[in-house]
Amino acid sequence: MDKHGLEEFEYERDGLRIRLKKASAHSQGAVRVFPAPEIVVPGASPASHASASAHAPSAAREASSDPGRSEDLHVVKSPIVGTYYASATPGGEPFVAVGAHVESGQVLCIIEAMKLMNEIEADVAGEVVRIFVENGQPVEYGEPLFGIHPHRKK
């Protein structure tokens, strides 16, 4: 799974369904929506899945205050809830990498919401110095995506 960067594995036979899901482990401590790995067997007691999950709101707060430490870092936040994709096609070249110079209006990533691919654009020109999320990770509203060091105005 890891090798192939898979997020989900689903197997179904004779009414038995097994689903594996890789946690989007995230060093910045942003929302971890899924406890992982998780095996879903229909008919099993729901209580058996009651594993603890990261506590989202406080984690999200830390994440949003973290980029603020760097003085003139411009943070691009997710305008919608959805799934973050770094590239236009699975396994394709990422839109941007750390160190890339971007122009205002340039596409930085895609957030998939309700089967729709929404392109997220840079709202400043500058150098991408941080990427806070990983490909395939679920993101909430307002979650920091990119840290951009803006170009100085001439």
Partner: protein, 449 residues
């Protein structure tokens, strides 16, 4: 049974649904706006997802955001609570299309009950008495004159898509009819985007009595008795109780049976409330149905022992009503006081930080709240901060317990309607059960001392 449920609401009802899910062993996902980052429903849910800025149109009412959250959290079902998306047929359809169970009635039932004139026709066809009036929308002035002659005066003109008193006109004599008809149409057009109005007999000194119903997905429907909600201020319920002080057992059974028959006919599932106006003669007339769990559901829970929210979840998962509820017995009397963060004199909302919060307890007292000391009441949502429910073996005991609870409820930092409730509970007419829906509006001394 569901594995994981997303709760598309906030405040006390989100906590109420959380509690029900925990009892059933179901994992919970809270959604929240940026204004609710520190809210208790966020803290107590297994997972929480921020879905937008404070304004509810961009968060709690934002269907794509809620559905996206449900998809990334991989839930089986969504409980909409009350308000927000709870009676949005389109939302229920989007849930269906996304293979997520909407915990509530079918989109068709929601749509039917949302169009009040159609709902009336449907209920009348099933034998539920409706207020004498036009069979549907009154298209023009000639039709209005004809209907007025049939039902007599006084009468009332109402917006078909309306609510909250807008697009409403009372007509006491023939000469007022046509100007009032025109004004009501104009108001309806402006407020609701549709000039459709209907006409009905005006019920003077009405009491608001509603029946709690519950249906499953297998065609069974039951009722859980009535609630009296006549203590209102500008069409907003203030205090509710069950049973009604004026409804006798025979009427309860007759109207209850009619309601059950009508809803079984349309295949209604989940919780719902069928609202009636009672005229002084004692006759009940259907006015509308709310296709959701209601704010005042706890009074029914206290007198029946039926957990309505858990029942909603279980029937949504396909369980049979007979297994979920069984036989229902009515025990004692329950009263609910809605405590709003409002100035009790002027009723202007009082948002801000709660500096002290002490909840009453004792025999027969239940408090549903999401407030706490140091919580901030945001200005973006409704002002309900707590519901106190008092249960006693009869109405007098319930009143005494409520008086005690109101006295022991301490809220500092924001203004609340606690003093208003204290005055209502001490009013001789209220204690005697002698009131109608104009009780508060008629007693300015009571409503704003």
């Amino acid at each position: 049974m569901f594995r994981k449920i997303l709760i598309a609401n906030r405040g006390e009802i989100a906590l109420r649904i959380l509690t029900a899910c925990k009892e059933l062993g179901i994992r919970t996902v809270a959604v929240y706006s940026e204004a609710d980052r520190n809210a208790l429903h966020v803290r107590f849910a297994d997972e929480a997802i921020c879905i937008g800025p404070p304004r509810s149109s961009e968060s709690y009412l934002n269907i794509p955001q809620v559905i996206s959250a449900a998809e990334i959290a991989n839930v089986d079902a969504i409980h909409p609570g009350y308000g927000f998306l709870s009676e949005n047929a389109n939302f229920a359809e989007v849930c269906e299309a996304s293979h997520i169970t909407f915990i509530g009635p079918s989109p068709e039932s929601i749509r039917l009950m949302g169009e009040k004139d159609k709902a009336r026709v449907e209920m009348a066809a099933a034998g539920v008495p409706i207020i004498p009036g036009s069979p549907g929308v009154v298209p023009d002035e000639d039709a209005a004159k004809k209907i007025a002659e049939e039902i007599g005066y006084p009468l009332i003109i109402k917006a078909a898509e309306g609510g909250g008193g807008r697009g409403m006109r009372v007509v006491r004599e023939k000469g007022e009819l046509i100007p009032a008809f025109q004004t009501a149409r104009n108001e309806a057009e402006q407020a609701f985007g549709s000039a459709n109005v209907y006409i009905e007999k005006l019920i003077e000194r009405p009491r608001h009595i509603e029946f709690q119903v519950l249906g499953d997905k297998h065609g069974s429907v039951i009722h859980l008795g009535e609630r009296e909600c006549s203590i209102q201020r500008r069409h907003q319920k203030v205090l509710e109780e069950s049973p009604s002080p004026v409804l006798d057992a025979r009427t309860r059974k007759r109207v209850g049976d009619q309601v059950v028959k009508a809803l079984a006919k349309i295949g209604y599932s989940s919780a719902g409330t069928v609202e009636f106006l009672r005229e002084e003669s004692g006759k009940l007339y259907f006015i509308e149905m709310n296709a959701r769990i209601q704010v005042e559901h706890p009074v029914t829970e206290m007198v029946t022992g039926v957990d309505l929210v858990k029942s909603q979840i279980r029937v949504a998962a396909g369980e049979m009503l007979a297994d979920v509820v069984g036989s229902v017995e009515f025990r004692g009397h329950a009263i609910e006081c809605r405590i709003n963060a409002e100035d009790p004199e002027t009723f202007t909302p009082s948002a801000g930080r709660i500096t002290a919060f002490r909840v009453p307890g004792g025999p027969g007292i239940r408090v549903d709240t999401a407030a706490y000391s140091d919580a901030v009441i945001p200005p973006y949502y409704d002002s309900l901060i707590a519901k106190i429910i008092a249960h006693g073996h009869d109405r007098a005991e319930a009143i005494a317990r409520m008086q005690g609870a109101l006295g022991g409820f301490v809220v500092e930092g924001v203004k609340t309607t606690i003093p208003l409730h204290k005055r209502i509970l001490a009013d001789p007419d209220f204690i005697a059960g002698n009131f109608d829906t104009h009780f508060l509006d008629r007693s300015p001394a009571l409503a704003a001392k």
